[in-house]
């Protein structure tokens, strides 16, 4: 009896030991956790865009968490769109958390200030939102998957003189890095064919543009190019109509949103603008899936393209991490080799500067709806 009991115990013990050893040997190998730093404006002026990008990134992470072959940990830091704060955040992520990859920056000033640090430490920076043209040549480790301003603006300039046969254009632009860049590119592109009769700047968050519009009106332009954001652009269109300035408006992706229809009303009809292929109402399968998942998780629509950019950013990185593991040089090389990645924000191909040129489409407002513009 006693012997039997002892024997039983030894047997159970042996079985347990064998099981444990088995488990250790044959357990699916746990991948090393990869830390990715995320620097976004999570508070302050640009927080809406930062939070939007964050939601996209979080959604991508949730999807990746079901994938056994990769383990990603995100560390968020707030830049407040301030270059000094962004530098502190980058230093902390790189030196303390030892991240090798950073997704970050909606604001170009923050991106430009961080650029030398990531270059020095050989850390990959993938920006979902910085627009500055200076970032193109800022370094080898710097990528962005936001459409460059030049891609959009040259397209709209081309449409203006080719499709609309317009020769005299006035530009009204927001006096920040985005507006100044867009104005400059439009001017160089358009002046090859036509004439810029007037350029007027306004400060962000301004609400009265009658001075600039009156000056523009005196020059009798055939069209006006709006380089700015939805809030101000909507008011500009409304006030232009009030002043009897009935011209064709051209703009970029900043213009699409309910706010335009609410503020400008009928005056918004017929405006021509470029938009990324990302469209909430698109029928394309990947976009539909993304929008549905986003709606389930956050109970709202992904209004800003930054959500899609952020989502794509993490997905693209994950894809390359799978190939390269933690080898930064390899990830960098693979990023440059990324061709025609079917992203939610459009087909993504990085060029030799780490910029993307996603396809853009031309859209217009028709009967209070944002619809693709039919070229005749």
């Amino acid at each position: 009896m006693m012997k039997n009991k002892q024997f039983g115990m030894v047997l159970t013990f042996l079985i347990i030991v064998i099981l444990v050893i088995n488990l250790i040997i044959f357990m699916p190998k746990q991948k090393e956790e990869i830390k990715i730093g995320v620097i976004l404006p999570l508070s302050g002026n640009a927080a809406v865009y930062g939070v939007s990008a964050k939601e996209g990134i979080d959604l991508a992470l949730e999807e990746l968490s079901t994938d056994e072959s990769i383990k990603i940990k995100l560390i968020y830091e707030d830049s407040q769109c301030n270059s000094e704060k962004a530098v502190s955040a980058a230093r902390k992520l790189i030196n303390v958390n030892k991240v090798k990859i950073i997704i970050g920056h909606i604001c170009s000033n923050a991106a430009m200030a961080v650029a030398p640090i990531v270059e020095e430490n050989k850390v990959i920076l993938l920006s979902p939102g910085a627009s500055s043209t200076d970032l193109t040549n800022a370094g080898d480790y710097i990528f962005r998957n936001r459409q460059t301003i030049s891609g959009e603006v040259s397209k709209i300039a081309e449409i203006a003189y080719k499709k609309f046969d317009i020769n005299k254009v006035a530009i009204i632009y927001v006096n920040n890095e985005y507006g100044v860049n867009a104005k400059g590119i439009f001017k160089t592109e358009f002046e090859e064919e036509g004439q810029i009769v007037s350029t007027e700047a306004y400060e962000q968050d301004a609400t009265d543009f009658k001075t600039q519009l009156t000056k523009i009106k005196q020059q009798e332009p055939e069209a006006i190019f709006l380089a700015g954001y939805i809030k101000e652009s909507a008011i500009i269109i409304k006030q232009a109509t009030e002043l009897g300035l009935e011209t064709q408006f051209f703009s970029t992706l900043g213009i699409e949103g309910q706010e335009l229809l609410d503020t400008a009303g009928e005056s918004a009809e017929g405006i021509i603008y470029t938009a990324p292929m990302f469209d909430v109402k698109s029928d394309e399968r990947i976009i539909k899936e993304f929008v549905n998942k986003y709606k389930i998780k956050y109970e709202k629509e992904p209004t800003y393209v930054f959500a899609a950019n952020g989502y794509d950013a993490l997905k693209i990185l994950a894809l390359n991490i799978k190939k390269c593991d933690t080898n930064t040089e390899c990830i960098k090389k693979e990023l440059y080799n990324t061709k025609n990645y079917p992203g939610v924000s459009g087909t993504t191909t990085f060029d030799e500067n780490g910029d993307v040129n996603k396809p853009v489409m031309i859209k217009t407002v028709k009967n209070g709806q944002f619809v693709p513009y039919e070229t005749k």
Partner: protein, 290 residues
């Protein structure tokens, strides 16, 4: 690796010490509610950046940054000759906006909102301060020199007159002192140090744009001066260290990522309010601001 992060923080502390003690000279010691300090900082940063980008040696650009800011300090003191208290605060605040607008709109010179990228790291007599550690040494030496100069000034007879102006300007005038001249010197000296701090900032971050020099950036420096205590250099230095390190420490508090931005700022504000409730004059404040 982790040292690199501390070195970065120490450099920021060094730059902010220069900025804060020079602002203390006007606000705390002379009683001029000067809100134009960030404009002098901007003038220094832009002067140094533009000069070195065009090939001027660091040491000359560095000194010119201070001198240029000082000239503007003199100018501002002449323009605000007859103003006092709140009115002076408003006029100097306007100066901040003017300098910001110039930086934003004189695109030919400053590249406007595009900012100035690629500002070179300083080099002195053939020795390059390209590593952050050597830059830290440079910053600390300059901060230390600035501290001793300002300490010397406030302890000198001239400094005593400044304090007399703060406490009772009329009485000082009756004693036969040219208070305007004294005030204008104080403002110019303070502007000089803000200018050299701006130069260090530009060379350290290597990218400047007008958004770094707004009213929003002035507030932290003002907070340092008040939390440190008016007319106390020791307090100012302690406050600089505390207020630069505090938000960094909050990075290590494990907030859920959904509230990470706002939560840190709420906590930061809360701590500031508590400090001022328990220490209404700041750490070592001697006087109260009227």
């Amino acid at each position: 690796m982790i040292e690199a992060y501390f070195i970065h923080l120490l450099i920021l502390i060094g730059i902010y010490i220069i900025l804060a003690i020079s602002l203390q000279l006007t606000i705390g010691f002379t009683g001029l509610l000067n809100l134009g300090h960030i404009a002098f900082f901007a003038i220094g940063a832009y002067t140094a950046a533009l000069l070195t980008l065009n090939g001027t040696p660091f040491i000359i650009a560095f000194l010119l940054a201070g001198i240029f800011a000082m000239i503007f300090g003199f100018l501002l003191s002449f323009l605000t000759k007859k103003l006092k208290g709140d009115y002076l605060a408003l006029a100097t605040l306007a100066f901040t906006f003017v300098i910001y607008s110039i930086a934003l709109n004189w695109t030919g010179l400053t590249r406007g909102p595009l900012g100035l990228p690629g500002i070179p790291k300083p080099s002195l007599f053939g020795f390059g301060f390209s590593s952050n550690f050597s830059f830290l040494i440079l910053t600390l030496i300059i901060a230390l020199i600035s501290y001793f100069i300002i300490k010397k000034i406030v302890n000198s007879p001239f400094g005593k007159v400044l304090e007399a102006i703060r406490d009772d300007e009329l009485a000082t005038k009756v004693l036969g002192k040219n208070t305007f001249k004294m005030k204008s010197y104080a403002l110019a000296i303070s502007a000089f140090f803000a200018g050299i701090a701006g130069s260090l900032y530009a060379h350290y971050i290597t990218f400047i744009d007008p958004s770094s020099f707004t009213l929003l950036q002035l507030i932290p420096i003002l907070v340092i001066v008040i939390v440190g205590g008016l007319a106390s250099l020791k307090g100012t230095i302690i406050a600089t260290i505390v207020l630069i390190l505090l938000p960094e420490l909050l990075r290590f508090v494990g907030f859920p990522s959904s509230v990470v931005g706002p939560a840190r700022q709420i906590l930061y504000a809360l701590i500031l309010i508590l400090i001022l409730i328990y220490k209404p004059k700041g750490f070592y404040g001697k006087v109260e601001l009227e």
